[in-house]
Amino acid sequence: MAPIVVIRDLIKEYSGRRALDGVSLEINEGEIFGLIGPNGAGKTTALRVLSTIIKPTSGYAEVCGKDIVKEGSAVRKLISYLPEEAGAYPNLSGYEYLRFMASFYYGNGGEIKAALAEGERISGLGDRMRDKTSTYSKGMRRRLLLARTLMVRPRLAILDEPTSGLDVTHAFHLRNVIKSYSKEHDTTVLLSSHNMLEVEYLCDRVAFINEGRIVEVGSPSGLRARHEAANLEEAFVKVVRVA
């Protein structure tokens, strides 16, 4: 089966400085793929290029065979993206926010209702869905936004640091939602993280990214074994030191 995401020699420069320096990757349908690396490694840049927000300086990438540069609007129908720093419209309720977002994806009221019901379930926010999002805590807002990302049944969900900066309970909830949703709907998930332990729990395969380059790809257990490391954190440090 052809990979759902193909990335070849992707380069992104910001005023001459390379944030991505020749990234190549393939992601298979149905897997949870983790992009891990320290702050400034280029994770957000890579996910933004794939989400059609920014254009690559050179290189090629496709989602389900659609070129992210030439067929941007087709790609946007297939993906759903959760930015690293995202918010909801402060004056809308959580429910109104989900309904607004769902309306872009579906033509009829029945489909929108179904997506909304799914979103409410995923968020687990209950009655608080009727309150303005400006009254939400950071964790609640993140849950709403993850629900927004997944309720539209994307072929590819792109999640930039989905649990970063959240307390244990909210992070735990989000991780479980991501894992069970992906298994239930066979949805491909590409997520980034600098939390190696989280990735170890969530991901089927991971790529290490450092200074804009992919330095290693494999399954968490395979990478541990290859580098004789107790966990991914140790494996990452060993890889980066060698590279």
Binding site: Y14, N39, G40, T44, R48, S51, T52, I53, I54, K55, S73, R76, K77, I79, S80, Y81, L82, P83, E85, A86, G87, A88, Y89, P90, N91, L92, E96, F100, M101, S103, F104, Y105, L145, R148
Partner: protein, 431 residues
Amino acid sequence: MPKGLRLLIAKEVKDLLRDPKILIGLILFPALLLPLMGAAINVSTWSTIEKASGNLTAYIIDDDGGSVVEDLQRYASENWINLTVTSGNPADVVKTLEGGGTIVYVPAGFSQNVTSNTVGSLILYTNFKEFSIVEFIKAQRVSDLISAFEDAVVKNKVEGSMPGSDPNSVLNPISVEHESVIKGTAQPISPTLLQSVVRLQGLMGPLVIMIVLILAMQVAATSMAVEKEAKTLETLLTIPVSRLSILFGKLVGSVAIALLATIANVLAFTYYIGALTSQMSTGAAGSDLISLGLVPSVQGYLVLGLTLFGALISALALALTLGTLSQDVRGAQSIIGIIIVPVFLPTIFLMMGDISTLPAAIQLVLYLIPFTYPVLASQALITGNYGPILLGLVYMAVFTFATLYIAARVFSTEKVMTARLAFRRKGRREV
């Protein structure tokens, strides 16, 4: 209309209307504040007038003792002013009076002079303490009383020397009526009155235009900044909706809110002006442009509509483009603070007069500012002077398309996300 655009406009209007910054700052505040000010002015003027208009006591120091002084005292009491006789040096006595208190000083020989057809002099001493309106009204009432008494003396003399004649026609032998021909029709109105009516109307148009433009720019820049501050823009850029729809959603949403805010402002402003002018009876009451035959033409409204539309769209495109540079609402407000200057300059310069009377350099600057043309068009509704405006229409069309094009460029590239003003040092950034 594409569905995405419709959804975005609906969201924009809903979100903006619920935003306290917009709702309170742009709509409720002016809608309540101006009428309140108007009402306050009303209340304070009326209470002042009541205070000053009752029975008034003034004083008289009579060094003459003649018959004319007796007539004056009788005349005063018929007109609700009690002239109480006192004595002493008037310049000293007046200091002991309350604020607005007045002494009529009658020097010796006054009655003699008046009856023998030479001029008799009086001196009015008034004590001012607070310079309040009440003090001035009191002083004025005594002064008016003397003038009215003088008229009565004159009429008396005319009757005495020309028995059987009407003193009014003797004193005003020539009467003038005005027929001002306005657009081919004669109207019974004096040039002075006509001028004040036209001025008032010529003032309102530019003011309203300025209010609409500034409000719309504020709304647009704020909505863009809210999108950045609340970090909702990045998500919006990845959902299945075109970037142009996002731009036009903001444009149309801002126009809708700005129109609402304008209606609130104009109603409030009209009420306020009404409260003000009801205190100053100009004599122009009832004379509006329509009844004077100054009916603006359909083409005039068309030109006004076109220039206003162009100005609104280009102002919004500018505000949205600049709004992408700011990271938060405060930043956006300060940017707007700068770009509203070209919006109110034309209004300030043209409110009081005609562009052709301004110095050439200022004229040139005004003609280069696209926001001048709707102001000129609003004045042309009355003056019919469309010369410079028709050329301006072409210029405005070019300007509008240019600003829209720039906004569309900014929105369709990643600049909408990454652009920012270099407030911070380069190279430093938190990710």
